[in-house]
């Protein structure tokens, strides 16, 4: 093990500078958006045309190809957001905090998607749009946590304070999420008999699983691309007075004229 790498070659920290990260993120955004489109096309084709009709739920089960990946992403993105927030707070790297802010809206979007598709699936299957089931309730609370993070950052004008305050809130949220989840679960089992069992998963056809995995990967790629795209905008906004941003915007302005 040697520490020479950092000075002689661009190491990991090299990309923590907004200037070097910006063009890289631009290239990655395009690739991940394209990858997400291809994977989603494949996943949706398998989900809608190849996967067999479910014996008990009929065609309505097919919404799981969107619902399950969205629910996974909603929880995973909160962890990612808290991770980058923590890195930003501990290492004092601006880009990490920007990453956390960039992930939050996508996470909130995934949570809303999971809630809406879940209730649309619940209507034909359970006969109701909403039950106060432990999973549904904790997903709703997760949405509140996302909204709290977004609202707090929106209310603070100073970007550095917004970064740090949001980071602390995200970390408090991460500690609380398991406590809230288990509380809600216990509350639910005490109050109403488990009329609906979400945990009992029926054996799944291989094509269904394949479709779901493809869609999950598509959601991953979309989330990465969306977060990178947003972080680029945040970088530009925060660094608008930096020399390299001014040069970049001048080049962008001159480019169409040069083509004529």
């Amino acid at each position: 093990m040697s520490s020479v790498g950092i000075s002689s070659r661009p190491g990991l920290m090299w990309f923590s500078s907004p200037q070097t990260f910006f063009p890289l993120a631009g290239r990655m955004t395009a690739w991940f958006f394209a990858l997400a489109a291809v994977l989603a096309a494949g996943g949706l084709y398998i989900g809608f045309f190849v996967a067999p009709t479910d014996a008990t739920q009929g065609e309505s089960y097919r919404i799981i190809f969107i619902h399950v990946p969205a629910a996974w992403m909603s929880m995973f993105l909160y962890l990612m957001m808290a991770f980058w927030a923590a890195v930003g707070l501990i290492m004092n790297t601006r880009l990490s905090s920007m990453m956390a802010s960039a992930i939050a809206p996508t996470g909130a979007l995934m949570t809303v998607l999971a809630l809406i598709t879940g209730s649309l699936w619940g209507r034909p299957t359970w006969g109701t749009y909403w039950v106060w089931d432990a999973r549904l309730t904790s997903e709703l609370v997760l949405l509140f946590l996302y909204l709290g993070f977004l609202a707090l950052q929106a209310a603070i004008d100073d970007p550095r304070r917004a970064d740090k305050a949001g980071a602390l809130l995200a970390l408090v949220g991460v500690v609380n999420v398991p406590i809230i989840y288990f509380s809600v679960q216990w509350w639910n089992t005490l109050h109403q008999g488990s009329s609906v069992s979400l945990t009992r998963s029926p054996s799944m056809a291989a094509t269904m699983l394949l479709g779901m995995l493809l869609m999950a990967l598509a959601f991953w790629c979309y989330s990465i691309a969306a977060a990178l795209h947003r972080v680029r905008s945040i970088v530009l906004e925060r660094e608008k007075r930096a020399e390299w941003v001014r040069e970049l915007s001048e080049r962008e302005l001159n480019a169409p004229r040069g083509l004529k």
Binding site: L147, A151, K164, V175, I180, S183, V184
Partner: protein, 222 residues
């Protein structure tokens, strides 16, 4: 160490006594909200008995939220908070003292007031005792968790509404087990587990929250 804690509590209590309207208004709010509920859902005793615990607990949550801005706002406005941040004493200890004082002037009166609500909502003495005990154990947790919301939103416009948005989701476990203990007592199920969990929340937040709030205050004042 202990003397610092007592000093902070003494100071905040003294300020609260000099400005009684703040304390009385919070209590009044709690009473009015709970009183609205029978008017909204009807006077049947059986129905009221079922919802009593939940209503009193939700009202306690709202009253706690409403009183949170007072925790740091005045000290922030007159510069005392800055002196506390500069002080040689550990900031987390000062925060713990302020949270305790906040509980003494809001949580404790609410807890005592709940005895009256036990009567109004036709709870038997056993259930009323459980309600009061659960509030006694749970309201300090509300003050402790709430202090992080108050610290993060210090000096922001629309801080009050924002605080409730940040803090209410974090109150969910306390609400569930606080109200749950009363309902368990009414239906004759064991209540030990509820009180053990409420006690665990209290210990957990008493240890970790002052430290997190100290960090939040330094972020907000920086």
């Amino acid at each position: 160490m202990l003397s610092v804690l007592l000093q902070v509590i003494r100071r905040d209590l003294l300020l609260a006594i000099r400005q009684k309207s703040d304390v009385v208004n919070t209590l009044f709010f709690f009473v009015v909200v709970v009183t609205m509920v029978p008017l909204g859902i009807g006077p049947e005793p059986a129905l009221l008995r079922d919802v009593a615990a939940g209503v009193v607990w939700v009202a306690a949550l709202l009253a706690a939220i409403l009183s949170l801005p007072r925790l740091f706002a005045n000290d922030y406005a007159d510069g005392t908070l800055e002196q506390m941040l500069l002080s040689a004493e550990p900031l987390s200890l000062i925060v713990l003292g302020k949270a305790l004082a906040h509980w003494l002037v809001t949580g404790l009166p609410l807890t005592l007031m709940a005895i009256v609500f036990g009567v109004l909502f036709d709870l038997d003495w056993n259930a009323t005792a459980v309600l009061v005990a659960s509030l006694a154990l749970g309201t300090p947790v509300l003050s402790l968790i709430g202090s992080i919301g108050a610290a993060l939103t210090l000096g922001l416009r629309g801080g009050g509404v924002l605080t409730s948005l940040l803090v209410l989701p974090l109150y969910i476990p306390v609400l569930i087990f606080g109200a749950g203990s009363v309902n368990a007592a009414i239906s004759g199920v064991g209540i030990t587990a509820y009180f053990l969990l409420l006690g665990a929340f209290l210990l957990f937040t008493a240890v970790l929250m002052p430290w997190a709030v100290a960090v939040a205050l330094r972020i907000s004042i920086e």
